[in-house]
């Protein structure tokens, strides 16, 4: 555990001593801010129009829910943006060590592979979490000007953390496959996109395969959290997904030892 902590600290420090972390954060918050602004504006338009209609027909205004009509699409958009953001964070984790030869230091030190896997992916996850934490500012704006339901916001963030954990695990694994960061990042984006779109295939894939596809689609599970529902089966899916890919990472490193030139 001590070794994991040492690896974790170095990795996190290395993120913040390169421009990458700042560039990713700035870019992500910019895009997230834009989505927030656009979705909120359209929500306000809808709200205003329905209010006017209600006045015109002398009826009570229909109920308008900021959680369902603004926050849920906002979080869904965030999740899609994350498909392209998380790989930028994870692509260097192992690829850089292979390229610089520092893997020889790690592999000849009294460390177990799973200790570096945990330390590294945890560091990437913490950077991811701070990225997500940045969006709390936008949500806070809503609390100033309206009355959103805090419960659904909470479950959405729990969902984002689990989703991000799964993304980080995939990215960490793919980073062990190549010494080229760009390749690692690109593969991660492709694989994450696949895990998103397989859900769409459930309609024409037949009932048996379709339900499996729908189940492994990462984003459809996130939608439950964005609705305000924490279902044990979704949590289990994410956690087992994370565990599976971290295990693959460990295996990939172990097998590398036998293949190295």
């Amino acid at each position: 555990m001590r070794n994991t902590w040492i690896i974790f600290r170095r990795e996190l420090r290395s993120y913040f001593s390169s421009p990458l972390a700042y560039a990713v954060m700035a870019g992500f918050l910019l895009i997230a801010g834009f989505f927030f602004y656009a979705i909120l504006t359209s929500f306000l338009n809808t709200a205003m129009r329905s209010e006017m209609q209600a006045q015109y027909y002398r009826m009570a205004p229909p109920p308008i829910n900021v959680n369902l009509m603004a926050l849920r699409p906002f979080f869904h958009n965030l999740a899609v943006v994350l498909i392209f953001t998380v790989p930028l964070i994870t692509m260097r984790l192992y690829a850089e060590e292979f390229r610089n030869g520092t893997i020889e230091l790690l592999a000849t030190s009294p460390l177990r592979n799973w200790e570096t896997v945990l330390g590294k992916s945890l560091a990437a996850f913490v950077l991811y979490a701070s990225l997500i934490a940045g969006t709390l500012v936008y949500v806070a704006v809503l609390f100033f000007s309206g009355k959103p339901e805090p419960g659904q916001i909470f479950t959405s963030y729990v969902g984002l953390l689990l989703l991000g954990g799964a993304f980080v695990a995939v990215g960490t694994f793919l980073s062990t496959l190549t010494e080229n960061q760009i390749v690692a990042g690109f593969l991660t984006i492709i694989l994450l996109l696949l895990f998103w779109v397989v859900g769409w295939a459930d309609e024409f894939a037949g009932p048996a395969v379709g339900s499996v596809l729908a189940y492994v689609s990462l984003l459809s599970h996130f939608d439950e959290f964005a609705k305000g529902v924490i279902d044990l089966k979704d949590v289990v899916l994410y956690l087992s997904f994370i565990g599976f890919f971290l295990f693959l990472t460990h295996l990939s490193l172990e097998s590398k030892r036998w293949r190295t030139r």
């Binding site: 610089n100 230091l105 009294p110 460390l111 030892r257």
Partner: protein, 316 residues
């Protein structure tokens, strides 16, 4: 301290190291000499648990590099060909990190980091970012990294490559000072480097050991001798003594028995002196049987032709 027996490493169809056997005693500085791609790095990588051997055994301080890899790793310091540096860290933070993963606790680090920086003369660079260091300083940080946990065994892969002449001398002095406390294996393809720093040399070529001796002996052997292999049927002791007594013979060593009934002898002679006629006469005169006699190709010499026998000149 280090025991290697019948070590073989095969990559796909290419054999990088073949049936290597040697051992290193505590406190010794062993030079691992050979041209590029001779199998030096492979051997070192196996010793440092970076990768497993295809067959054969290697152990450090009695611990097997494969079966008890964690114990071995705690006892070795390793400088790979390219120093494994994190270029965005400062020298001091980097050494603290390495010390940490080698198992030193925080309190020990407080004293160890300045100590190794002192030893490798990089104290003045403690706060600098590694990316901004010159090649010579990086190499020293690499050595400092290998020393941080005061390991019993140091394995240095081409520690002076790419340095300028002044830095080379400094690094060699540094390594020489490490013998005694540490057991050191250092690889190089530069002949004078070995004679300057190492007590003993192993010469490796195309994955095989071609010679292993003290530095002085090896140099002497290289300077003047031709080799002859003879298989003689007769009383071993007598044959050996009589051959040695022949004019021009400098050394005789008994080889493993050949195919026939006789014993094999490796006869070293003065350069340019052909003792074959005398040898044949001796054997026939004694009534022994001369089963085989052939000059031995001097693989050692061939290897040396591939070695850099002079210091590489620094481009002006």
């Amino acid at each position: 301290m280090i025991e290697i027996s019948h070590l073989t490493k095969v990559y796909g169809t290419k054999t990088a190291v073949q049936d290597i056997t040697f051992s290193v005693d505590r406190g010794e500085i062993l030079g691992f000499l050979g041209p590029n791609a001779a199998g030096k790095t492979t051997t070192m990588r196996i010793l440092t648990c970076y990768m497993p051997a295809t067959s054969g055994r290697a152990s450090i301080a009695g611990f097997d590099v494969f079966g008890q890899s964690m114990e071995v790793r705690r006892r070795i310091g390793y400088l790979p060909e390219n120093p494994p540096l994190y270029s965005e860290m400062t020298v001091e933070k980097y050494l603290e990190f390495v010390g940490g993963i080698k198992g030193l606790d925080r309190r020990l680090l407080k004293t160890r980091v300045p100590e190794v920086m002192e030893k490798t003369s990089i104290r003045s660079e403690a706060g600098r970012i590694i990316r901004h260091l010159s090649k010579g300083y990086r190499q020293r940080v690499g050595i400092a990294q290998a020393l941080i946990h005061n390991p019993d065994v140091l394995i240095l892969d081409e520690p002076t490559v790419g340095l300028d002449p002044k830095q080379i001398i400094e690094v060699r002095e540094l390594i020489k000072g490490l013998g005694g406390d540490h057991t050191v294996i250092l690889s190089t393809h530069i002949l004078p480097e070995v004679s300057m720093t190492c007590g003993r040399v192993i010469i490796i070529n195309e994955g095989r050991i071609v010679a292993s001796d003290t530095t002085e002996n090896l140099t002497r052997r290289l300077m003047g001798s031709d080799n002859l292999y003879a298989e003689v049927e007769g009383p071993e002791e007598a044959v050996e003594t009589r051959i040695r007594a022949l004019g021009g013979v400098t050394a005789v060593s008994r080889q493993k028995t050949g195919k026939g009934r006789g014993n094999g002898y490796l006869i070293e002679t003065e350069i340019g002196r052909d003792v074959r006629r005398d040898l044949a006469a001796l054997v026939v005169g004694q009534g022994w049987g001369l089963l085989e006699m052939r000059p031995v190709g001097m693989s050692l010499e061939e290897v040396f032709l591939h070695l850099t026998t002079r210091e590489e000149e620094v481009p002006a």
